[in-house]
Symmetry: C2
Subunit: 325 residues, 2 copies
């Protein structure tokens, strides 16, 4: 039996919220169906933030309602982001059973994004988490800027440990440590996970959410894997780019992560080809090229296939390309 | 004193040979000047294959001649690929002091690309290497398909060890192990480097040349680094894509590698900002978007800068992007 590693899929929420295109609810539902068919156990499908803030996800309640049968028929949990009590109330009303909260390990980043001190956010979220638990919901908590802050640069790594312990005590079952700026490096990942271990945190409670802004996301995942983390957030085809830099990458692409984990012998429970096809689907919906490496390889291989199988054509192309060294 | 890790730059050869555009010699020289100014100690500047095979590099002798002053004035070695005796003769005539040979660990791949068995290639190359050494030249040898073959799939990892030992015995000073297909994974890298160790090969003689086709190149480098390898091949801005899949990635992007190594505390001797600017330069010359992650981040940050500094603007954009979790 190979060891299980979980991929937590964020594309329908973290990916689509950053798109300038507002995707039709029908297409979101079809996308989520494809993700479930690929074998995902955890998909973050929307966000109950104010529709005015994120019009892309204003149909959260409808997406939850129209995908409810998928939850019932499959071993999958659908999650949605909730910023506050009002968001939680909407999530409860929608019938969803799992929510995710968020705050930042950086004081300045938290202040600018949530307009609260970290201490204030923690107090407010502890109440939201307690309420969610009373409703019988599962709760995940994101901590952003764990590996660096766009305003402060370096962030004290022990802050994430302290905040995580408070959130776990409040009732969160998992903490996702975010490299919001994509500044992290593998040595830093090993150091920070080591601090969680030293503080007695069960590593089974942790996930890593690494951004690929500088190409380091998968190397950072490897360091997390080596340190004992067994859950990683990723987004199909690298969906969730950064609006200020067309073509630049934000989220780690799920296909790249799945490929690496499976080749290393881990059991992800996922079908890579099916996941890659979900990436092709959402790319067609959005009408713009998505940046994931495996995604581009997969699309290119299919595009050049002709009558041959895609795999062998891809191989031939690659071989020709490298023919002179 | 931090530990030294060497980045061997392949963009002027491995990158440009795969471009449909033939770059002017003037621009190649200007590009190589920028690379040298970034602090590189090893740059592969061209290839002495038949011009009919690779018209993009038909000006190899001129590039060598016009960059000779850079070699004299800096602590840098310029390398060129030579496929055979004729190529070596041209390299000698050009005045270059360092050459690279190539063959494949896969019998089928070698046969299709060089039209020889691996044994035949090894015999021919041993003679070329010996001749080069007699001329006082430095010799590097590439072994491709070490981590997988487009035709055979799995490749016996011990073949690379045997071939490398033969090439070292013939006089090569360094062996670059190529993941030609981008199929490699970190566990495999650790396994293969472990076999070299077990065979008594000095790891200082090895380099890794990882392709990013499936996004795994930097994670594979990390595994190599952890196994004791201290030289990695990379290409500025990820230059050297795969012609069958526009946008798909071939070579590992140098900026991503440099960023990771420096953040981990290794001494690369390189100036990342200067290397990134070399990437912007060659992108402008080629007139197409290059795929490197850090490159795209760097370009996007500069593009959105306005009157603010690029770094703080990039930070703000990133922060806004992640404002809702």
């Amino acid at each position: 039996m190979s060891e299980r590693v979980n991929v937590y899929e964020v594309a329908p929420r973290d990916g689509l919220q950053n798109e300038s295109t507002v995707v039709e609810t029908d297409d979101k539902v079809a996308f989520i169906e494809r993700l479930v068919a690929s074998g995902y156990r955890d998909v973050e499908i929307s966000s109950f933030v104010r529709p005015r803030w994120v019009p892309q996800l204003a149909d959260a309640s409808e997406v939850v309602a129209r995908t409810a049968h998928l939850r019932d028929e499959n071993d999958v949990t659908f999650w949605a982001l909730v910023p506050n009590r009002r968001g939680l109330d909407r999530a409860v009303e929608s019938g969803l059973g799992a929510v995710a909260t968020f705050l930042s390990a950086s004081e300045t980043h938290n202040k600018k994004n949530i307009n609260r001190t970290v201490r204030e956010s923690l107090a407010a979220q502890s109440e939201v988490i307690a309420s969610a638990r009373e409703e019988g919901m599962r709760v995940r908590a994101y901590i952003s800027c764990v590996f660096g802050c766009p305003y402060e640069g370096h962030v004290d790594p022990d802050r994430a440990v302290d905040i995580a312990q408070a959130l776990l005590s409040a009732g969160a079952e998992q903490i996702s440590l975010g490299d919001t700026t994509g500044m992290g490096n593998p040595a830093q990942v090993a150091d920070i996970i080591g601090r969680f271990k030293a503080a007695g945190v069960d590593l089974g409670r942790l996930a890593l959410h690494m951004h690929d802004t500088r190409g380091t996301a998968l190397a950072n995942v490897l360091a997390g894997l080596q340190s004992g983390v067994r859950c990683f957030d990723a987004s199909i085809a690298g969906l969730g780019g950064c609006p200020y830099a067309p073509g630049a990458s934000g989220n780690l692409a799920s296909e790249d992560l799945i490929y690496m984990l499976q080749e290393m012998g881990y059991d992800t429970g996922l079908d890579l080809e099916s996941a890659a096809q979900a990436g092709d689907f959402i790319e067609d919906v959005l009408g713009r090229e998505l940046p994931g490496r495996y995604h581009l390889y997969h699309r290119g291989a299919a595009g050049s296939a002709g009558s041959a199988s895609t795999a062998s054509t891809a191989g031939t192309g690659r071989a020709r390309n490298s023919a002179r060294g």
